[in-house]
């Protein structure tokens, strides 16, 4: 009886998760993979093969955009880590118990506003006739309004702002578990600040760092609105090209091939990142 009840509760608890994974992740991926190996040979006639992937590899525009997207995503991830770590450290270790919740909330509030609105916020601030440029002119710091929008720098700032919370949260939760005695011991044994950071804090925080980096990298590489709204005339983003294939060119086959390529490539970057830093998913993300 109790064994049956246990089994039943396991099934009941597990079913939503299994359905979610199956219906929203696995089945669509299989569908996309299937569409991506269909070649269009004429009106309503298809054959099977890898032409869509060959087209993707042989056309430099797509290749370069994917590499560019990956490179900028890595940059955004690194910046989010560098900026987010001190914030996470402050929240987890220095802030008083009471202000901790308030600080966390302050990090969270920007996420209550949609991506679109946040991007427009940046546009209002940064455009040539925007708040910052006009204020500087008024104060006499610059004589001509300057354009701060429509370049890669703006895209990176906007993206870091969007994803940094996903870096801070895992870092805070990892750092909170760290015993302050470890730090004291480090200093007592004559370690400098840098040594203590390198030998004690960084290794301890590694699960948080890896989790945060994977989440921010994947979110950035897959983001759509921010690069398009803030980017300039040269700022192609790979998700934009996937959208173009699907929507403006009605080319679902090629769009699917792009989607699969993005997934494979970003997974490869994550794998390579783990290898290079000597980490593995099992010892970081899944570690308790």
């Amino acid at each position: 009886m109790s064994r049956d009840a246990g089994r039943l509760s396991l099934i009941l608890l597990f079913t939503p998760f299994a359905l979610w994974i199956l219906l929203l992740i696995i089945l669509p991926q299989i569908g996309i993979g299937y569409v991506s190996i269909r070649e269009k040979v004429g009106i309503n006639t298809y054959e099977y093969g890898f032409k869509n992937y060959v087209d993707f590899i042989t056309e430099p525009v797509y290749r370069n955009t994917l590499l560019r997207t990956a490179w900028m995503s890595i940059l955004v991830t690194a910046l989010a880590l560098v900026i987010g770590f001190p914030i996470a450290w402050y929240i987890a270790k220095i802030a008083k118990e009471r202000s901790r919740a308030a600080l966390f909330l302050m990090c969270l509030i920007p996420l209550w506003v949609s991506d679109l609105v946040r991007a427009y916020g940046w546009i209002v601030l940064l455009r040539e006739t925007g708040v910052i440029s006009m204020t500087l002119v008024k104060w006499g710091i610059i004589s001509q309004p300057i354009e701060m929008l429509y370049n890669d720098m703006t895209v990176i700032i906007g993206l870091v702002y969007t994803v940094i919370l996903f870096m801070i949260v895992p870092l805070v939760s990892t750092l909170q578990g760290m015993d302050d005695a470890l730090l004291e011991a480090g200093y007592n044994l004559g370690g400098s600040r840098i040594t203590v950071f390198r030998r004690i804090i960084a290794p301890y925080a590694m699960p948080g760092i890896v989790a945060g980096c994977i989440i921010t990298f994947m979110l950035t590489a897959g983001s759509y609105l921010t690069p398009i709204l803030l980017g300039g005339k040269n700022s192609s983003w790979f998700t934009e090209q996937i959208y173009n294939q699907f929507i403006t060119r009605y080319n679902w086959e090629s769009g699917s091939a792009f989607g699969v390529s993005l997934l494979v490539f970003t997974s490869f970057v994550v794998w390579a990142g783990l290898r290079l830093t000597g980490q593995s998913l099992a010892t970081t993300v899944a570690k308790e």
């Binding site: 009106i43 006739t129 354009e147 300039g232 005339k233 040269n234 173009n244 929507i247 009605y250 080319n251």
Partner: protein
């Protein structure tokens, strides 16, 4: 327990069934501004048993949505006249119109004939015209009084002060500006690719001149009204709207001819409320409704005297922009043959990615 549950189910089913039986729903798939509140209110007042449900979209997304569902989910769509033929041929997402149910006498004869010719497949007509307008150039006459055509978008003297939308219209306009005729090349894919290559080269060289690519009417309005941009590719309706706020900003029909589009009425294959759809079509073509519609869309109704039925401020903007010669010189978008969009798409991506 069980009877209660069953009663609940039955009750829910009755509510659901009753909901659909009482009021028919007309699901419109259309452009922003093409189903203004006051028109919907007037329509629902006349036909109290029809509920109007609006989904806003654009040409590409309309086709993508209908393709994804096999033409179901909507009862009336409004793609542009050049986007119906190939989409119908490839994806079979529309159904033929019953012209006897449409008051075609209310429509401008040459627009009606043009759209019918463009959207007839195996003797069946798939679309009739609703509103039309043009794409061309808009200029702030104080800053750029000499603007006359597509080529001025890439003129060095306006460096950092011009804008365009990176879509197929600018490819076609630039081709005309360079002295080519893209629509004549539709039948000759190699010639078309050759033309696209030349246009691509020109638009890549042009990137140092333009400030940014705009992506929507609001975006463009902000750029023009703030004075950040003085010359831009535009839809005429956006230019007419801006003329009301700043009379220095006028629409300039390019000397090679403004590119004209006609948005149509087209019924999706899986549409479930054809009667309501025909009622809507005939309703919005009435002169008094046309006026409300044009005030909202900024485009011209495909009815005789369509321009006279525009609100006064828009009428002034149109007469400031077009004379009869410009109207005679309009270049109507030709049907896009299958495959052309792929070639154009690659050209656009090359331009966007180039440095």
């Amino acid at each position: 327990m069980k009877p209660t549950f069953r009663a609940l189910l039955a009750g829910t089913a009755m509510v659901l069934a009753g909901g659909t039986a009482n009021a028919e729903t007309l699901r419109l798939l259309t452009w922003g501004g093409y189903a203004p509140e006051d028109v919907i209110a007037a329509f629902e007042a006349e036909y109290p048993d029809i509920d109007v449900e609006v989904t806003l979209s654009n040409n590409e997304e309309m086709i993508a949505k209908l393709r994804a569902t096999g033409g179901t989910g909507f009862d009336l769509a409004q793609p542009s006249h050049d986007r119906v033929y190939a989409a119908q041929l490839e994806y079979n997402i529309y159904k033929p119109l019953d012209l006897s149910q449409i008051n075609t006498d209310a429509m401008t004869p040459n627009l009606l004939e043009g759209v019918k010719a463009n959207t007839t497949i195996e003797g069946e007509v798939y679309s009739v015209p609703h509103q039309w307008g043009t794409s061309g150039v808009m200029a702030n006459m104080k800053e750029a009084p000499e603007v006359a055509g597509w080529n001025d978008l890439c003129d060095e003297q306006y460096a950092g002060r011009t804008s365009m939308r990176l879509r197929r219209t600018i490819l076609l306009g630039t081709a005309y500006g360079m002295g080519m005729d893209p629509f004549a090349l539709y039948a000759d894919p190699e010639g078309y690719q050759d033309m696209l290559d030349q246009v691509t080269e020109k638009l890549i060289a042009c990137k140092s001149v333009i400030k940014t690519y705009w992506s929507g009417g609001d975006d463009l309005s902000a750029l023009m009204l703030s004075g950040e941009v003085v010359v831009s590719e535009t839809w005429d309706s956006t230019a007419f709207k801006l003329y009301g706020e700043n009379p220095d900003i006028v629409f300039v029909p390019p000397e090679t001819g403004a590119l004209a589009w006609i948005d149509t009425f087209t019924i999706p294959r899986g549409g479930e409320a054809d009667d309501a759809a025909y009622k809507w079509i005939n309703f919005v073509l009435r002169p008094e409704i046309t006026k409300m519609m044009s005030a909202s869309t900024g485009a011209i109704a495909a009815v005789p005297n369509g321009i006279d039925l525009m609100p006064d401020d828009k009428k002034a903007a149109i007469s400031a922009a077009f004379d009869q010669e410009d109207l005679d010189n309009l270049k109507f978008f030709a049907n896009i043959p299958p495959g052309i969009e792929d070639m154009e798409g690659l050209a656009l991506e090359r331009i966007k990615a180039a440095n």
